[in-house]
């Protein structure tokens, strides 16, 4: 046969039939001679009345030769006949019946990309398809794959439509990189989702994260209810998230309606989705969940409740925690700590884990959990009306300081309390080990996240100026992009200092990569002076100057590229400079 679809025309009456020929060929003419045997009769030239155009091709010539010569051997006679059949079959192909039509993709009202931006996207996606470069020197050319997330975010911000021809590459990119998915799927839009349904490789796009596009309209109460009751787990998680974003209390009601019948793992996931838009209105439901059969569900409920400082739960925790920590009336006015002696049933119901991990004392473990879950404003009243700064500055007796401050850090992170976060971070210029709060960079980064954007950038800038870049990576990661002018300059100055100090640029590759993505593109011109290769300073690492200038070249190149990408999306890129 000749492919799945085109059907050969009804066989022309000629002997032997095609099926006979195939059978003879398969078994061998020795074992099974073709039906008409040898001789002139089977020559292809005798295909008179075939009615197909093929008869006027060269086949008759070959046939004439066969006729005029001596009788052919059976295998060759069979091939003669098969050749005639083959050409005839091919020439007589007919179209197949069309399969069911695809649904038509819903229209995408967003405007098309400007041509320059479209070219840029094609380039970014083409570069992505290439395998990652070997580790080591990164050269002076920008790393395009790292710019794709920014490009997508910028395009979405301007509400552009994805070019249909690039959708497959876009979906492939999102498939390979989960961090790209939300932006890529938003950009891909309805046509992207339509396409993803046709290719099992792009199933991920259907998991309901695509801005609610696979989900029913969340205002359609009946459709929401149907999907909630009959949908797959992933669809339901997506639905709950979407409803929660639009109407937090409707989501809670939805969840409560089936709460009793959900499996424990599912309850855990669903409960977790209440983390978004958490408010005092959720308290009753969470309080109820504290009595859940599953320990994990209980502890998530407790964690969520502790982020609601006005809740009854918070009040209970505050009472417990403040009873353990107080002012030392006798001595220097510091803090005295009396860790709890037992973890009773009520505490356990409120999510306190009774059994400490190996190597930790029970009482300090309980204390840590209590303080972590207690609302921070409670301490002000408890500790003589002091501000967070003053409280953090108080001495703590009997070596409880580390334990207590660490718990306060966790509480400030969980409750997003900027005042306490600021106090616990301390002044940025202080060496990290001697400051209050915590020395852990990861914890500090989380504390920073509780500060307002501008203050955060300022704090990190001061930190970088004081301590250099070697410990700044995680802290920089929580700053808003593009970096503020102060922060950007602090980072660039620190890089410049590191270069002058004679170290190699790859010691700072993490920060360099961040700077490429996060610096304000407007800084490019100011940075251009750094791209020259300086004379080798005495005592510097050999060749470092060249590598630094290469690294700065890449930095400047990337910044310029980002500026160009933005201009292309804004349609302000120079388009054709010729007359």
């Amino acid at each position: 046969m000749t492919g799945p679809g085109p059907q050969p025309a009804p066989a022309v009456p000629a002997t032997p039939t095609w099926e006979d020929l195939v059978t003879s060929a398969l078994l061998g003419t020795d074992r099974r001679p073709p039906a008409t045997g040898t001789g002139a009769g089977s020559g292809p030239g005798t295909g008179a009345g075939t009615g197909t155009e093929a008869a006027s091709g060269p086949a008759p010539d070959a046939g004439r030769r066969a006729r005029s010569g001596p009788p052919k051997e059976p295998p060759l006679a069979l091939l003669d006949a098969a050749a005639l059949h083959t050409v005839r079959r091919r020439a007589a192909l007919l179209p197949a019946a069309a399969g069911p039509a695809l649904p038509v993709a819903p229209p995408d009202p967003r405007p098309a990309l400007p041509p320059a931006a479209r070219r840029r996207l094609a380039q970014l996606l083409a570069d992505r398809a290439a395998p990652a470069q070997a580790a080591g020197r990164r050269g002076s050319a920008p790393d395009l794959t790292e710019l794709l997330p920014q490009w997508l975010a910028a395009a979405n911000l301007r509400r552009f439509q994805a070019p249909p021809a690039l959708l497959p590459a876009l979906l492939d990119a999102a498939r390979a990189r989960t961090d790209l998915r939300p932006q890529a799927l938003q950009f891909a839009g309805t046509r992207g989702l339509w396409l993803a349904r046709l290719n099992p490789q792009w199933k991920f796009a259907l998991r309901g994260t695509a801005g609610g596009t696979t989900l029913p309209d969340i205002r359609d109460a009946e459709a929401v209810r149907n999907l909630w009751e009959e949908g797959l787990f992933a669809e339901r998680v997506g639905l709950l998230g979407a409803v929660r974003a639009a109407d937090p209390s409707a989501a809670r009601t939805l969840l409560a309606s089936t709460w009793q019948s959900e499996r424990a793992e599912d309850r855990l996931m669903f409960l977790d989705s209440l983390r978004a838009e958490l408010s005092a209105a959720d308290e009753d439901f969470l309080e109820h969940a504290l009595a859940d059969r599953s320990r994990n569900v209980r502890s998530v409920a407790a964690e969520l409740l502790s982020a609601l400082p006005a809740s009854a739960f918070a009040a209970r925790m505050a009472a417990r925690a403040t009873s353990c920590v107080g002012l030392d009336r006798t001595g220097d006015g510091g803090i005295v700590v009396e860790a709890p002696h037992e973890c009773d049933a009520a505490m356990q119901r409120d999510g306190i884990v009774a059994k400490p991990p190996t190597g930790r004392g029970e009482r300090s473990w309980w204390l840590g959990q209590l303080v972590e879950s207690a609302p921070l404003p409670a301490w002000r009243a408890r500790l003589g009306g002091r501000t967070a700064e003053d409280i953090v500055a108080l001495p703590v007796s009997d070596g409880w300081q580390e334990e207590l401050h660490a718990a306060w850090c966790r509480a400030a992170i969980r409750q997003g309390d900027a005042q306490w976060a600021r106090a616990l971070l301390g002044p940025p210029a202080l060496p990290p080990d001697s400051g209050p709060g915590t020395a852990s960079l990861a914890e500090r980064a989380k504390l920073l996240a509780a500060l307002p954007d501008e203050e955060r950038a300022g704090w990190v800038a001061a930190f970088v100026s004081a301590h250099g870049l070697s410990e700044a990576f995680q802290l920089l990661g929580v700053c808003v992009v593009p970096w503020s002018r102060t922060l950007g300059r602090a980072v660039v100055d620190a890089l410049d200092i590191a270069r002058d100090a004679g170290s190699y640029p790859w010691s700072f590759s993490g920060v360099m990569g961040l700077a490429e993505r996060c610096l304000d593109p407007g800084e490019a011109d100011r940075l251009a002076v750094l791209t020259t290769t300086p004379d080798e300073a005495e005592g510097a690492a050999p060749g470092a100057g060249g590598y630094w200038s290469e690294a700065f070249q890449r930095l400047v190149g990337t910044l310029r590229l980002r500026a160009a990408m933005r201009a292309e999306l804004d349609g302000t890129a120079p388009e054709g400079t010729a007359p």
Binding site: T2, G3, P4, G5, P6, L21, V22, A25, L26, L27, G28, T29, D30, G57, P58, A59, D61, A62, A66, E73, P75, L76, L79, A82, A83, H85, T86, V87, L93, A96, A97, G99, P100, A101, L102, P103, V104, A105, A116, Q123, G139, A141, P142, L144, P163, P164, A165, L167, P168, A169, W194, L195, L198, Q553, R554, G557, A564, T577, A578, P579
Partner: protein
């Protein structure tokens, strides 16, 4: 804008890359940072200095006037065009301000450009003089008598090869194709090597393809018998070529593997590029460029070859058109032509080539088979077709939803399939494809929503 018309697209530039690694390296260089003193003028010249790892920057110049883009670079790379030329082109297509519009090329670039254009002009004028063209081949072959004897010897070798192949096919059929399933590639490779010895590369490659059929899944005996029968037909046609009409005899000579040469009258037209794609085997990259004459409605195939790491010389990205002369090759049912003189640089093509229904397509294919039964594929433009999914794969269906042609199995694994589907969005589009006995190989699509054609290769 300028004589070059609209700028190319990044895809068109990347199509010039000899391999994927060069494309990658080229796009890394497609940023302003390493470049200096870069510029272009209105005549299709583009130049720039690219800082590499050495102290002296590389001098890269590109000439866009010829077929494709000719490039020269002072870097040591043996790839052609090198990554610097690709980077420079990408910079130019992205309108980067570092590439400045100038009235004349930089001196070092002008030297090469002028020399190149003088050579091209000299070639052009030589072709115009009827005497010059006939003198050149004579000068190359010192002794026409010896050449004739060589050709005769080769034909005799091919005849011996064809006779041997007939014998082998007869033996195969006598024992049955079922045995071939277990014989593996070895038997076919050995036969193919014999055909190479017989200087019949066309027979050799057909034999090699036979070797893959027993492993090609259900229905393989049918496919194997078909191909054996066509090979047999070709053998017979070669051995009896003296009695064939001359056009058909030329086709047979081409199919057997004798070089084909432009023979027909020159055709000047505005040739619209319908598709361009490369097929690479271990030794040589073959670029197939389908052209459609907008004035006379003729379709032609230009082949360009590149050996060992070099991209084929001619590059005509989809979306462009050339005002040029094509020299058709001889032979019944042959579309191949050689690109002759181009009168202006390629310009953007407008419009979609006229197309037909899927029924028109199979009819055209059937008619073409009448001229050349060994035809592997036939170019067709399908107007307003819609992709449809069936249990066996994909098809392109007429807008009325009745008739359809399946996509060939080898089209299903290509990224172009999804581009095609994405472009259609379930609606009709125009598709240029090669129709093969196994189904369609879509090459280019024109969708109502997008102004430029989209290559699907």
């Amino acid at each position: 804008m300028n004589q070059l018309g609209v700028r190319w697209t990044a895809e068109q530039v990347l199509a010039l890359a000899p391999d994927a690694a060069s494309a990658r390296a080229g796009s890394r260089l497609g940023t302003a940072v390493p470049w200096s003193d870069a510029g272009y003028d209105g005549t299709g010249a583009l130049w720039g200095l690219c800082r590499g790892s050495g102290t002296r920057p590389y001098r890269t110049a590109v000439d866009l006037t010829g077929p494709g883009a000719a490039a020269k670079c002072s870097c040591p790379s043996r790839k052609f065009p090198c990554k610097h030329a690709l980077g420079l082109l990408l910079l130019w297509v992205s309108d980067d301000p570092v590439v400045v519009r100038e009235t004349a090329p930089a001196d070092w670039a002008a030297e090469w450009l002028d020399a190149r254009r003088e050579r091209a002009a000299a070639r052009g004028s030589a072709e115009e003089e009827p005497g010059a063209a006939s003198v050149a081949p004579a000068a190359r072959t010192a002794d026409p008598e010896a050449a004739r004897r060589r050709a005769e010897r080769r034909e005799a070798r091919i005849s011996a090869g064809a006779a041997e192949l007939e014998q082998r096919l007869a033996d195969l059929l006598r024992g049955g194709l079922a045995a071939a399933e277990h014989a593996g590639y070895g038997m076919w490779e050995e036969t193919a090597a014999r055909m190479v010895d017989a200087q019949a590369p066309g027979l050799a490659s057909r034999v090699r393809e036979l070797g893959a059929l027993p492993a090609s899944g259900p229905g393989w005996p049918v496919r194997l018998l078909e191909e054996c029968a066509l090979l047999h037909l070709l053998d017979e046609a070669w051995l009896g070529r003296a009695r064939l009409p001359s056009a058909l005899a030329t086709t047979v000579r081409t199919r057997v593997g004798l070089p084909s040469s432009p023979g027909g009258p020159a055709l000047r037209d505005r040739w619209q590029v319908l598709a361009q794609y490369d097929q690479a085997d271990s030794r040589v990259a073959t670029r197939r460029i389908w052209l459609y004459g907008q004035d006379r409605g003729r379709t032609a195939l230009v082949l360009s070859f590149g050996a060992a790491g070099r991209a084929p010389e001619v590059s005509l990205p989809v979306g462009l058109a050339v005002d040029a002369v094509l020299l058709p090759h001889g032979g019944a049912g042959q579309l191949r032509a050689t690109l002759g003189e181009q009168f202006v640089p390629p310009f953007p093509a407008s419009g979609t080539p006229p197309g037909g229904s899927v029924t028109d397509a199979v009819e055209a294919y059937g008619r073409a088979l009448r001229e050349d039964p060994w035809l592997e594929s036939w170019p067709v433009v399908l107007a307003a077709v819609i992709p449809a999914m069936t249990n066996d794969g994909w098809q392109l269906a007429d807008k009325d939803g009745r008739s359809a042609l399946p996509l060939a199995p080898r089209a299903l694994g290509r990224p172009g399939l999804w581009k095609l589907v994405a472009l259609s969005g379930g609606g009709p589009l125009d598709v240029f494809a090669e129709l093969t006995p196994q189904g369609l190989l879509p090459l280019t699509a024109w969708s109502p929503g997008s102004p430029a054609p989209t290559p699907l290769t």
